[in-house]
């Protein structure tokens, strides 16, 4: 055994550069793999955390009917609060009212049934929910939901009357504030397991009362009400809003007898979310474990609803698809890195080829030779793997600016590090075994020869696996394009995706096929380099070029390997850049569609602004255009819909209005018609379908009057149908001319203003916030940018950030190319120093000697850049087709990022030139006399 180590050590020291090459090759391969895995972990953790961030209450503790007196909510609250993993517990009561009415003689509006929530004042700070958007929570009055405020036309300070089923008396109180209850559906959902998962319409009218007031003035009377599903009538029938005012004519959508008590008394629990695992499956297990632990505090007395479990369950599939998307995008890079690892290892073993053949000739057994190879490359590989994992961790943190070392991610990290370790060992084994096998197949005599002549074509070439993969990939692509995968819209309009692994199969097969086909073509190209390449190089560089080409034709394997690495590097970089750029563009389109434009400025109801405010926005530096955008509600039949009042001219300057937003017509023709028709209206596709409306029809819409809140019927002429519109992705909506709308409702105040930014929207939002605060100190304005929207939607697949991954892949692709070139050129120098010394002795000038080596680098580089760019663009186009299933609206075409592709090609070219110049420098230091003497 000792002799193996002695030999291996000597071999490693003798081949210092190649050993270093192998070490760096393994380091980069495992560094990239682990960086990608850690990135996926970080994304998974981020998506999970983002999903649960929108969940107002982690768990709801429901006291079971017939619970013993000892199991009171207050004693349970104390017990829960001290449990490990629980951050806080607070009481919460839910009842229903049959109607609400604005009193005090201002108007005579009323609402349909609604929900009454009772909480302690500390509830708002404990759960950071609901958000009070106007006024404040005062125990002497109530907060009302935004929808209820709209329906009643109520403002803080107004008096309202809530009515309840008998024997509960009516309750008069004062509105002290308005709260945003979006995302609170779970709180109103049935608590019994049978109906918990059912689809339902959350109540639009919600009032929030102080718990003490509720308990002293309403609780007992409400509890005495007969058990009836009035709460569910309110909950499930909310869509039939405003029946009480006599205008709606709507009916209860569904009444479900869920046996909910008239007053649902609960404890709401906030757990320590920071301790949750980044992996959604594990996080779900953790919350379930905690739920069971809490239920054991009062066995049989309470039932605990795990809202986090439900939320994480919904995002689980998104996380899985995000993982697949990220790994898929990184896959070619990882394979490239693995190939580099194999290349570097084979390079080290090739250095031993003649020596090992000599050992075999002198009687070394196959086992001894394999042991030597294993000793040489195994240790280097192991060091490379360990350092690679550390490098991956560091790269991830540098590229994303986030640490993945959070406590919740420990298992994820350990799993990824383990996976990288196993993959590294597999890479190393393959890298060692392939050249070892080749060593045996060539025989001792061939092993001692100066060059390795290429043997017969490999199996995959004989069976045309490359062509088969490409054909299969194109067929799969055709099928997936014919059967578009449609995003499924879930609750509250959040898109959940229905993708298939099939979608990813096409690009994967095309990648594999293209790589193999390139291998076949490059072999063919270089084999024939004695022909046209010889003439070309001869014409450029004289006889040295001719002989260099003839040499390449007979020793093309190293050239083919480096050319393939360059082709794959460039193709990978180009396709990733194209995909990422298109992805970013669609993210922006998606966010812009949700927000309406780059930036949105929304005045508070207490300080309304008119359309003239848009002019002052336009004067702010960094603003390209601004438009007033009115947002009201109107009835189409019995359905309450959003109605947008727009100024067509300025809207077109401010917001993106793609042709794909409109049905059967271009944006230009529909909007021009709208501008030319004062009472024109554009209806949503959904509305057009539901009510069989077409362009040219006359329809009646009921608009709410500003002065009294009454709805009046106004005739409109339909000028077009839209699929989407700024601020309204996927919803039912109506678009009308702003001036006409203002005339009809008797108000000139505008709900919001859209702004087009010249540069970074986030920066403009900050500028606007400060400048508007200075100009209009009394005005309360909310300024949002598309960055804020993206941040709010991070739990969906469309908002997975590819920035960090792209940065990681880019840096590694360039490092791989640089290392491969260095290995290739130093390999040439080490292998052929005797040849170059001989050339010098035969009278080749230094320039002529350089031409021999530079020709090979140039052929590999030019082949890599041209073929890589073409293949990369083609693959990018294939990848973009995946986006058609992810984004709505889908991208109309691939965005070619000329700057980043140009930068990539420039960097590869510079790397090539620098490496070649380095070799020229080393060649200049070669002493032919000494080389020839020691050869």
């Amino acid at each position: 055994m000792q002799y193996i180590w002695t030999y291996a050590r000597a071999a490693v020291l003798r081949n210092g550069y190649r050993t270093l090459g192998m070490l760096l090759g393994t380091l980069l391969a495992i560094g990239l793999l682990s960086a990608v895995l850690f990135y996926v972990d970080a994304s998974s953790a981020h998506m999970t955390q983002a999903a649960i961030a929108g969940t107002p209450v982690d768990m709801q503790v429901i006291l079971q009917p017939g619970a013993s007196a000892g199991a009171s909510l207050s004693s349970l609250q104390q017990q829960l609060s001290t449990q490990l993993g629980v951050k806080a517990a607070a009481p919460f009561s839910l009842a229903g009212f049959t109607s609400s009415r604005l009193t005090g003689g201002k108007r005579a509006t009323a609402t349909t049934p609604g929900a009454l929530i009772a909480v302690e004042p500390s509830y708002f700070s404990t759960f950071a929910y609901p958000q009070i958007v106007q006024g404040r929570f005062d125990p002497g009055g109530v907060l009302i939901s935004k929808d209820m405020a709209t329906n009643l036309g109520a403002q803080p300070g107004d008096a309202i009357l809530l009515t309840f089923p008998a024997p509960a008396p009516p309750f008069t109180t004062t509105v002290t504030g308005i709260a945003d209850l979006s995302g609170a559906d779970l709180l109103f959902a049935p608590t019994d397991p049978q109906h918990r998962g059912m689809a339902f319409n959350p109540p639009a009218n919600v009032a929030i009362l102080d718990l003490h007031t509720f308990n002293t003035q309403l609780r007992d009377a409400l509890l005495a009400a007969p058990t009836q599903p009035f709460l569910q009538q309110a909950t499930f029938g909310a869509a039939a809003a405003a029946t009480a005012n006599g205008n709606s004519g709507g009916a209860v959508v569904s009444v479900v007898d869920t046996n909910e008590p008239p007053v649902s008394e609960q404890l709401h629990v906030r757990i320590n979310r920071g301790a949750l695992a980044g992996d959604p499956v594990q996080a779900q297990q953790q919350t379930e474990q905690l739920r069971r632990q809490l239920e054991r505090l009062a066995p049989g007395q309470v039932r605990i609803l795990n809202n986090l479990d439900e939320t994480i369950g919904k995002v689980k599939e998104d996380v899985l698809w995000a993982k697949i998307l990220l790994i898929f995008l990184a896959g070619p890079g990882i394979l490239l890195a693995a190939y580099l690892s194999r290349y570097a290892t084979a390079n080290l073993i090739a250095a031993q080829r003649r020596e090992l053949a000599l050992l075999r000739a002198r009687g070394a057994t196959p086992r001894q030779v394999v042991a030597i190879i294993t000793a040489i490359s195994g240790i280097v590989a192991l060091i490379g793997i360990v350092l690679g994992i550390l490098l991956g961790l560091a790269t991830n943190m540098l590229a994303t600016g986030q640490t993945v070392l959070a406590a919740g991610n420990a298992l994820l990290l350990a799993r990824s590090a383990g996976l990288a370790l196993v993959a590294g060992i597999v890479f190393a084994l393959v890298a060692m075994l392939l050249p070892t096998r080749a060593l045996y197949l060539t025989g001792v005599q061939a092993g001692r020869s100066q060059i390795v002549l290429e043997s017969e074509r490999p199996l995959w070439q004989r069976f045309y696996l490359d062509v088969a993969c490409l054909a299969a990939g194109l067929i799969v692509l055709y099928i997936t394009q014919q059967n578009r995968f449609t995003p499924v819209v879930g609750g509250e309009g959040n898109a959940t995706l229905s993708l298939s692994l099939f979608t990813f199969l096409a690009p994967a097969l095309i990648w594999l096929g293209a790589a193999l086909l390139l291998l076949r073509f490059s072999a063919g190209l270089f084999k024939t380099s004695g022909g046209w390449i010889s003439r070309l190089l001869g014409g450029l560089f004289g006889p040295a070029g001719t002989f260099a080409a003839q040499g390449m034709a007979r020793r093309y394997a190293p050239l083919q390997q480096i050319a393939l690495i360059l082709i794959l590097t460039v193709a990978f970089g180009v396709s990733l850049s194209g995909f990422a750029a298109t992805y970013r563009q669609q993210q922006r389109v998606d966010a812009e569609l949700t927000l309406g434009a780059d930036v949105r400025v929304t005045p508070d109801r207490s300080t309304p602004q008119t359309a003239a405010f848009a002019s002052s926005l336009r004067n702010t530096p960094g603003v390209v255009a601004a438009t007033p955008f009115d947002l009201n509600v109107a009835y189409v039949g019995s359905e309450l819909q959003d109605i947008f009042g727009v100024n067509v001219f300025s809207l077109r300057q401010t917001a993106t209005l793609a042709d794909s937003f409109f049905v059967d017509e271009s944006a230009d023709s529909v909007l021009s018609r709208l501008a030319a028709t004062a009472d024109g209206i554009v209806v949503s596709e959904e509305t057009a379908h539901d009510y069989s409306i077409a362009a040219g029809d006359h329809i009646n819409i009921r608009l709410q009057q500003a002065n009294n809140g009454q709805f009046v019927t106004v005739p409109f002429q339909v000028v077009g149908v839209a699929r989407e519109f700024p601020t309204a992705p996927k919803d039912s909506f109506l678009v009308v001319n702003q001036d006409f709308l203002h005339q009809q409702i008797g108000s000139d105040s505008v709900a919001t203003f859209l702004v087009r930014a010249a540069g970074d929207p986030a920066q403009l939002a900050a500028t606007l916030t400060s400048s508007l605060a200075a100009q209009l100190p009394a005005a309360k304005l909310q300024v949002e940018s598309i960055d804020d929207v993206t941040a709010q939607l991070t739990s969906t697949l469309t908002t997975v950030s590819l920035e960090g991954l792209t940065r990681i892949e880019w840096v590694y692709a360039l490092l791989i190319a640089a290392l491969a070139l260095t290995i290739f050129l130093t390999g040439l120098l080490a292998e052929r120093r005797t040849e170059y010394a001989t050339l010098s002795a035969l009278g080749a000038t230094p320039i002529q000697v350089n031409i021999f080596i530079l020709c090979e680098a140039a052929v590999a580089g030019v082949t890599g850049i041209i073929a890589g760019t073409v293949v990369g663009l083609a693959l990018s186009q294939v990848l973009v087709t995946i986006l058609t299933a992810i984004f709505d609206p889908p991208p109309s075409s691939m965005l070619v990022p000329f700057t980043s592709i140009g930068l990539l090609l420039a960097l590869v070219s510079v790397g090539l030139i620098v490496s070649a110049l380095g070799i020229v420098f080393l060649l200049g230091r070669l002493r032919p006399a000494q080389v020839l003497h020691t050869a």
Binding site: S449, Q450, I451, L453, G538, G539, G542, P543, A544, T546, F547, Q550, G551, M552, R554, R555, T834, E835, A837, T838, L839, S840, A841, L842, G843, A844, T845, P846, I847, Q848, R927, P928, A929, Q930, L932, H933, A935
Partner: protein
Amino acid sequence: MTEPLLIATHLSKSYTQGQRQIAALHDATLAVQPGEFVALVGRSGSGKSTLLALLGGLDRPDTGAVTVAGTDVAALSRRSAAIFRRRHVGFLFQTVDLLPTLTALENIMLPCALNSARGAASEAACREQALALLRMLGVEQLAGSLPDQLSGGERQRVGIARALVNQPDLILADEPTGSLDHAAGQQVVSALRQAARDQQTAVLLATHDEEVAALADRVLTISDGRLEQQPVDRRLPANLLTSI
């Protein structure tokens, strides 16, 4: 007496190996006449290869001067030295060092092509010249073979052809028979001698083999970097050479 083709005076060369200074050649002086066949005999490490490298302009002496065909070789730049070698000096090595990716014919053509103007005409002329040399050395059938497909003796003959292709004034042969058996070695040397005689080329052949040296017109002995002249003319009759 004609002007010597090669005149080397007081050549010295030392190398640094680690921290040791090794005197590879010390105060060597010699002259070679045009067409003369001179053997340089010495053991391994005696300084033979160093002397040949200095004479061929592959290396520069620490002291002394080398003139070949009237040119001060030591004073030439690397580029000029390469061009000078190409035109006036042919090299022949123990391991031959044929370029492994070029055929025998291409290896022979290479120095000629490097010396030629660009174009098909000069390439054709080089090809013709190379084929003529292969014919002369009796290995024409090996023209399309790669070096790995040749025996040691065949490689040396291709090497001789390559050294002669530019019709140099001087061939510097460094142990050309070192890796060959006795018979093959004798054949190679006689082939070299015959070819050099045909082209009126002087040969300086380094060897440690006394029998090979015996075929030379004159023998120089080198020991520990010091050159000793043996003034004996050992020119062999032509009929004996052809019989070997």
